[in-house]
C-alpha cells in the first residue's frame, strides 16, 4: 500500500478496530487517542497527523480502545486492566516492531504499555477527565452516574481517578502556549479537544507532524 492511500482497516483482540496508516516497514508508531468525548473532538486532528506521518514514511497504528470508537464492547463492562491490556494486544496484532507511541491527552495514561519512547500532546491526568465528565453531567442536568452517556465501571472510574501523567527521559511533552505546565515544546494552536463543535487546526497538525518526525528519527 502506498502512503498516499487511505488507512487500512485491521482488528485486534476481541474484534476491536485498528487503522493502519502508511508503510508497514520502517519506523512504526502506536497512536493512543484521547478518552471519552475528547476522542470525538480530536478525530480530525488525530487522522490528519496519522496521514501526515504516513506521507513522511512513518507507519502509524491507531487502535480504538475496548468500549470506545468502533468497539463492539459496552464501556460499562470494562476495567482499567482491559484498557491497559489492549495496548500490548494491539501492538502484537500489528505484526511489526513498534518503536514508540504518540499519545493525545488521556491516551498518555496508557503509553506505559508501549516499549520505546513516548511523544505526548497536552497529556492530562485521569482525575481531571473524570471531573470533566461529572461536571458536564451536572451542567446538562443528566444523571451524574452516566455522564454525557458514558457509563464507567467502578473499577475503571477508580483507576482513572488515580492515574496520573509521569514524564521521564523517554517522554517528549508538547503543550499549547496557553498551558504553562511542564513541556519540552510549546506550540500555538487551537485546543480542539475543548471545543464542543468539531474543529480542525491544519497548521497545528502540520507543526505536530514535523515535531513527531524530528523526534522519532532523532
Amino acid at each position: 500500500m502506498t502512503a498516499g492511500a487511505g488507512p487500512r482497516v485491521h482488528t485486534y483482540g476481541d474484534g476491536e478496530a485498528m487503522l493502519g496508516f502508511g508503510p508497514a516497514t520502517g519506523l512504526q508508531l502506536l497512536v493512543l487517542q484521547p478518552l471519552f468525548e475528547e476522542m470525538n473532538r480530536t478525530r480530525a486532528l488525530v487522522s490528519a497527523i496519522c496521514r501526515g506521518l504516513a506521507q513522511r514514511g512513518i507507519g502509524c497504528w491507531l487502535p480504538d480502545l475496548p468500549g470506545t470508537g468502533e468497539s463492539p464492547q459496552p464501556l460499562d463492562t470494562l476495567s482499567w486492566r482491559d484498557w491497559s491490556d489492549a495496548v500490548p494486544t494491539a501492538i502484537a496484532a500489528t505484526g511489526v516492531p513498534i518503536s514508540g507511541s504518540v499519545a493525545f491527552r488521556g491516551g498518555a495514561l496508557l503509553d506505559g504499555g508501549v516499549a520505546g519512547r513516548h511523544w505526548r500532546l497536552a497529556p492530562t491526568g485521569g482525575r481531571s477527565l473524570l471531573s470533566d465528565l461529572r461536571r458536564s453531567a451536572l451542567a446538562s442536568g443528566s444523571d451524574p452516574a452516566t455522564p454525557a452517556g458514558y457509563v464507567l465501571s467502578a473499577d475503571l472510574a477508580g483507576a482513572l481517578a488515580a492515574a496520573d501523567i509521569v514524564a521521564d527521559d523517554r517522554t517528549r511533552t508538547v503543550r499549547l502556549v496557553s498551558d504553562d505546565r511542564p513541556a519540552d515544546l510549546r506550540v500555538d494552536g487551537i485546543p480542539v479537544w475543548r471545543r464542543p463543535e468539531p474543529q480542525q487546526d491544519e497548521a497545528l497538525a502540520a507543526l505536530l507532524v514535523d515535531d513527531i518526525v524530528a523526534w522519532s528519527t532523532a
Binding site: T124, G125, S128, S131, R135, S136, A139, S140
Partner: protein
Amino acid sequence: MTGTAVTVEDQLRAILRDVLGVDAARAAAIDDDTPLFGAMPELDSMAVAGLLTEIEDRLHILIDDDEVDGEMLESFGSLAAFVRAKRGA
C-alpha cells in the same frame, strides 16, 4: 510554572481563549468588570465544565462542585478573586 510573572488574570484569559474560542483581541479586552456567565454567549453550562477543569489543571487548585455558583462566575473579577482565594494568594 514558568519563571516569568504571569498573573492569575493572564492565565484565566488564556483559559477563556482556549475553552471558549474567544479571539486574542477579545480576550485581551476582558477586565475585572467583564460579565461572564449569562453574558458571554460562548460560556454555556457545558463550557463551564471545561473551564473549571482547565482552571484546576493549570492553576493547580481543586474546586468542589458546591463552590460553583452564579456569584463565582458573575464576572471576570469574581472568578479571579475566587482563584486567588483558593491559591491563598
